[in-house]
């Protein structure tokens, strides 16, 4: 980092030696593959890997003249932009990568990660065989032994402690089909203790945004931002986190001469391209947004017609906003009133305007309230439901949107049905498993319907006294498939948690920090590593941030004993005796469930979110016809025989059965379009009336709607009232009747529970939207703060503000106590801010992703970022005698935590602020844990994890952690 950032030179000496030495002891697999012409595994000592010399002769996998080249398309696995990857394959070996010009998302482009994905597959540092700890040493085992050992132990724990004692941690790196199988397996096992990266990514977005207007996802798309005249990036750094999105942002900025506003604690690489930058204090987003709204209301810049027609409760917002005049906002956030007024005016009057965020808003104890405030800013100014507007929420992983939708989440079954009896009955009908059989798998009906434990707190669920955990027993086993451990806060405590587990299973392409920390924690047995394929070695669909589904095909077969997610879940469910249920309507070829069949089952149950129209056939047609979709609207010409009128990737909701050919929804809540052109109102999700005031839209409806006012969601009762039930076919009516019998009345069958698709079809036929036509909620009465208010972070340097703006009171949430208030009070009482005076915040680097093990195992990326570092302002550095590039200790406010990292002295961070990237791992408290990895599977680059310093703090709505604000001290 240091040398590159300053002088453009990479550090050649340190790792060169290490790589040469380690690599030469191992097989150069690509040479083997090329020479043997096989993609199958096996070890042989072919040519060595002499780095630092011109060694192309020994290690090439370039296109060989005369050998036919096959082009295969998949999707990059590194962020949610959804860049198509075009691979050149010869004899089953991935020999080259070409730009994917046809994709409307990336038009040939990639970032450092996307341009090097081939190396992910070829990396010599992957797990090649199943491994287990025997006496504290990693030993190779067969798949059969591993699955048997894991299955037997799981059953033993189930017997002893119940199904809730096993935690199923899944992944945003799964395809939709992998996610669905994992989710279904957890349900059939009998627990809601199943979760994935969305918890620590955008769980607060999902909760906050869905509670505002229906669905918790990006409203528009990266491409649509080209239409914006003003954009505010509050809590995001797309130049590093979503680089290809910057293509659309920067081109839009140039073409529209748009206002490109960045508000951030750091002067990010994105800010370098902004027309306006405001430096805010971490954790003051609500004060910032209310500060903008103060100017908007004060000057009458709000969109009064939009508010009257489509928003509930804006008057209560006005009252709260009045408490945030310019001087108070400056006192809290540090941004002067003049600048706030300028930005407010641009956002409200130079339209269309959009607000963009990523984890800068979500990673807080007030994350849910933050994103609600952002939505309210859009609502107040009428900036939603049109091109160039909206809440453009940049998701993180390549399929975190899909995995969220499919309910790999402690609070819901697939597609946001929730955990109520009705939800379980819906899925029991889809799965064709009797409800009572599902119920019998759980400890109790109460636990079946109670949210599980968020993954942010898995170790608390191991370590806390049993009485503090609202389930039969504490956690005894972790089954982790595709999730880093170092992306979760409070690492010193998670190490204790690792020691306390009876069983740890990690299924991943890499050993991950679970492996190195498990050995550090003293684990000797009952710890397994299962080698899993990357998405390039399997097939399936994944969802980009803009809700578009893309089908990736298998590029190459795995080279060693890696199995794909489907195979792992098949083998495990077979061992656990759940395979007959799991695959009742899904074909299995050998040990591999067919992903197309999995998607078809999702289509049959995914009515609530419009995952019903995206059949595998349609998705594959989209990948074949990428070049036909417009760059800005993402729509194909209506006369095209295969994809005519569709939006690229059929962004959900895509209503009805695939045959209905709904085009998908490019921009949510666009009343300016017919429902069959992707138009939609706000979702009538929260009832029809509250305190005598209507919750349905007034005088606003989608183009061509036969109902010209607000209307509730469609049920059979509504259809009957309108006389539209006559439009149902006999077949549809038959299915509806059967479900009605199950529910007690046919009238209760709705657009989301009707498995025939008839209710949706008929509503659409009349130009109406299946989910109704409601108002967005400025006031969400079911949340802890119905109207968002500023609350100081748990560990804040501004103790003077804690009394006026305290954090949430202690409460029991998600089966565990959340004692944030007590922790905040103790921190203030003990004067923590005096001994730890610097704000510590965290974020991303362009070269790495997530916990970073896979990208740090990619030699082309590892070379670019070789050292973990902390950014520190020159003034803070000189006070401490710290020079640029020097080793320093960063110490944290809890657990006597400390981290040995290099100092990057820069004005990028303001005085009093330190920044650490969150991708590093493999060191703890200054100790290098390289020896704890299975031999040859250690990443090239290791370093201290930012999360070894981060501290307590959980959003009450979702259990989101708080890695964006804590306190630290830095010493030379």
């Amino acid at each position: 980092m240091l040398t590159k950032r300053k002088s453009g030179q990479t550090n050649r000496t340190k790792l060169q030696g290490m790589m040469g030495a380690v690599a030469s002891a191992h097989l150069d697999r690509r040479t083997f593959l090329r020479r043997s012409g096989l993609a199958a595994g096996g070890l042989a000592a072919f040519g060595s890997f002499q780095l630092g010399t011109i060694r192309k002769a020994s290690a090439i996998s370039h296109p060989e003249p005369g050998v036919p080249i096959e082009l295969r398309k998949s999707v990059c696995t590194h962020c949610s932009v959804g860049c198509t990857v075009t691979a050149e394959v010869q004899n089953g070996v991935w020999t080259g990568q070409e730009p994917s010009w046809d994709s409307p998302f990336n038009r040939g482009s990639h970032c450092a990660k996307g341009a090097s994905v081939r190396e992910l597959v070829h990396s010599d540092r992957r797990l090649k065989y199943p491994m287990k700890l025997v006496g504290g040493q990693w030993e190779r085992v067969s798949w059969e032994d591993a699955i048997n050992g894991i299955g037997d132990k799981l059953m033993e724990i189930r017997q002893k402690s119940g199904p809730e004692s096993v935690y199923w941690m899944g992944s945003a790196k799964f395809s939709n089909e992998g996610t669905y199988l994992f989710r279904k397996l957890a349900a059939l096992w009998g627990t809601n203790n199943q979760d994935h990266q969305a918890r620590i990514c955008h769980s607060t977005t999902v909760a906050g945004v869905a509670n505002t207007w229906g669905y918790g996802a990006m409203t528009n798309s990266f491409n649509d931002i080209r239409n914006a005249k003003t954009l505010i990036i509050l809590g995001g750094n797309p130049a590093e986190a979503h680089p290809v999105a910057m293509q659309h942002l920067l081109e839009g900025k140039e073409l529209n001469n748009s206002n490109f506003i960045v508000m951030d604690p750091r002067f990010t690489r994105t800010a370098a391209h902004a027309t306006e930058f405001a430096r805010i204090r971490s954790g003051t987003d609500i004060a910032i947004i209310w500060g903008l709204l103060w100017h908007i209301f004060e000057n009458g810049w709000e969109d009064k017609e939009f508010i009257a027609q489509r928003v509930y409760g804006m008057d209560e917002i006005r009252k709260e906003v009045a408490k945030y005049p310019p001087d108070e906002v400056e006192r809290i956030s540090g941004v002067p009133g003049e600048q706030m007024k300028r930005i407010a005016q641009m956002f409200a009057t130079q339209k269309p305007a959009t607000i963009i965020w990523c984890m800068g808003q979500t990673h807080h104890t007030v994350g849910t309230a933050n994103v609600r405030a952002s939505c309210i800013l859009c609502l107040a100014t009428g900036n939603v439901g049109k091109p160039g507007t909206g809440a453009n929420i940049f998701r993180g992983h390549d399929n975190v949107q899909g995995a969220t939708d499919i309910g790999l989440d402690v609070v819901t079954l697939p597609f946001y049905y929730g955990l109520t009896e009705g939800a379980w009955k819906h899925w029991s009908r889809v799965w064709e498993i009797p409800y009572d059989d599902l119920l019998a798998q759980f400890d109790s009906k109460e636990l079946m319907e109670a949210p599980g434990i968020p993954l942010t707190r898995w170790f608390d669920a191991v370590l806390l006294p049993k009485d503090d955990i609202a389930q039969r027993n504490s956690l005894r086993a972790m089954f982790v498939q595709g999730h880093a451990s170092n992306s979760i806060t409070r690492i010193p405590e998670s190490v204790k948690g690792l020691a306390g587990l009876e069983l740890l299973v990690v299924a991943d392409p890499h050993p991950t920090t679970w492996a190195s920390l498990a050995v550090k924690a003293g684990r000797k047995e009952d710890t397994y590593l299962l080698p899993v394929c990357t998405q390039f070695e399997t097939s399936g669909s994944r969802v980009a941030s803009n809700r578009a589904l893309q089908w990736g095909e298998q590029i190459v077969k795995p080279s060693f004993e890696q199995k794909d997610d489907y195979q792992v879940l098949y083998l495990l469910s077979k061992k656990l005796g759940l395979a007959d249920w799991m695959f009742k309507n899904i074909a299995v070829e050998g040990d591999r469930p067919v992903p197309e069949d999995v998607l078809r089952e999702m289509n049959r149950g995914g009515w609530s979110t419009g995952y019903c129209g995206q059949s595998p056939e349609r998705l594959k047609a989209h990948m074949r016809n990428q070049h036909k979709f417009d760059l800005v609207t993402l729509r194909a010409p209506k006369d095209d025989p295969e994809v005519g009128g569709d939006y690229y990737g059929l962004p959900w909701p895509c209503w009805g059965k695939p045959e209905l050919r709904h085009p998908g929804t490019a921009n949510l809540y666009s009343t300016g379009l017919h429902v069959m052109d992707g138009g939609s109102p706000f979702r009538a999700r929260f009832g029809v009336e509250r305190n005598g005031e209507t919750l349905l839209a007034e005088g606003s409806y989608t183009v061509g709607s036969e109902l010209t006012d607000g209307y509730p969601e469609f049920t059979m009762a509504v259809l009957k009232k309108l006389g539209w039930d006559k439009d149902l076919t006999a077949e549809e009516l038959g299915i509806i009747q059967t479900i009605g019998n199950d529910m007690g009345s046919i009238d209760k069958v709705s657009w989301s529970t009707d498995l025939s698709g008839g209710v949706q079809r008929v509503a659409l036929k009349h130009g109406c939207h299946p989910y109704g036509n409601g108002k967005a909620r400025a006031v969400a009465w079911n949340l802890p703060d119905p109207v968002p208010v500023h609350r100081e972070p748990i560990y804040t340097p501004r103790v003077d503000l804690v009394e006026k703006y305290p954090t949430y009171p202690d409460a029991k949430q998600f089966r565990l106590p959340n004692i944030g208030f007590t922790v905040q009070k103790a921190a203030v009482d003990k004067g923590i801010a005096k001994s730890f005076p610097l704000i510590l915040t965290s974020g991303r680097l362009v070269e790495f992703e997530g916990g970073g093990e896979e990208t740090r195992s990619n030699r082309w990326l590892a070379e670019l970022q070789q050292d973990m570092f902390v950014e520190i302002n020159p003034a803070d550095a000189s006070e401490r005698g710290i020079t640029d590039g020097a080793w320093v200790w960063v110490s944290g406010a809890e657990n006597n935590s400390k981290a040995r990292v290099k100092a990057l002295v820069t004005e990028r961070v303001g005085k009093g602020v330190a920044f650490m990237p969150f991708h590093f791992g493999g060191w703890l408290h200054g100790e290098d844990l390289r020896a704890n990895y299975p031999k040859g599977a250690d990443p090239y680059v290791l370093g201290e994890s930012a999360n070894s310093i981060t501290t307590y703090g959980y959003d009450p709505v979702t259990g989101m952690q708080e890695p964006k604000v804590t306190l630290c001290q830095i010493t030379a």
């Binding site: 060169q16 970032c111 680089p243 910057m246 082309w860």
Partner: protein, 198 residues
């Protein structure tokens, strides 16, 4: 015949390093050798700008002027290539190059630095096009396949442009007309002895 050039639009470059890893991927360039890299000025301060740099394939290339064994040659497309068979690793070209393009596999203070390596504009070397021998020494030859350098083709924001000098200058001029001049086409004057006429 087209005159091939590079142009990095610093208003667009976000230092994502796609050009760097695309190059590594295409040519299997070893650790420690950077045919292309991204340099950032005013890092972390207002006015921060990044530029992707590699051999610019100069007009009257200074490297060729100082080479004691005359290993450089310019192709009909204006691409500056060299022969690793002739190169003696003396390092003169490194000092002559205004862009820091020449790279050497060895770092010892004494003796040869090894054969010089640099960006080939994805055009290989003196060996027959797309031959095994050419790939071993210089990497892929995309130009021979009718393709342009992969670094530019994969650039995340279409900042790095490569191709016929007149066409990429035209693209750049269009952008400047729309948005204003900004930071300029960095290095163009030095490499090609002419500004981009706007």
């Amino acid at each position: 015949m087209a005159r091939m050039k590079f142009l990095c639009d610093a208003e667009r470059c976000i230092e994502c390093n796609a050009c760097v890893t695309a190059c590594k991927n295409e040519h299997d360039v070893p650790w420690g050798i950077n045919r292309r890299r991204v340099v950032t000025i005013n890092d972390g301060k207002p006015g921060e700008r990044s530029v992707s740099m590699a051999c610019m394939h100069c007009t009257d290339a200074p490297c060729a002027a100082v080479c004691p064994v005359n290993c450089f040659f310019t192709t009909a497309d204006g691409v500056v290539l060299h022969s690793k068979d002739l190169c003696i690793g003396c390092g003169y070209c490194f000092y002559a190059c205004p862009f820091g393009a020449p790279q050497y596999p060895r770092t010892s203070n004494f003796g040869s630095r090894g054969k010089m390596d640099k960006c080939t504009f994805c055009a290989g070397g003196p060996e027959p096009d797309s031959s095994e021998a050419e790939y071993r020494k210089y990497g892929a030859n995309r130009l021979a396949e009718g393709k342009l350098p992969l670094c530019a083709e994969m650039c995340s924001t279409k900042s790095l442009l490569a191709g016929d000098g007149e066409i990429i200058a035209e693209i750049y001029k269009e952008r400047v007309t729309q948005r204003g001049y900004g930071s300029g086409a960095w290095g163009w004057q030095t490499a090609y002895r002419e500004p981009v006429q706007v």
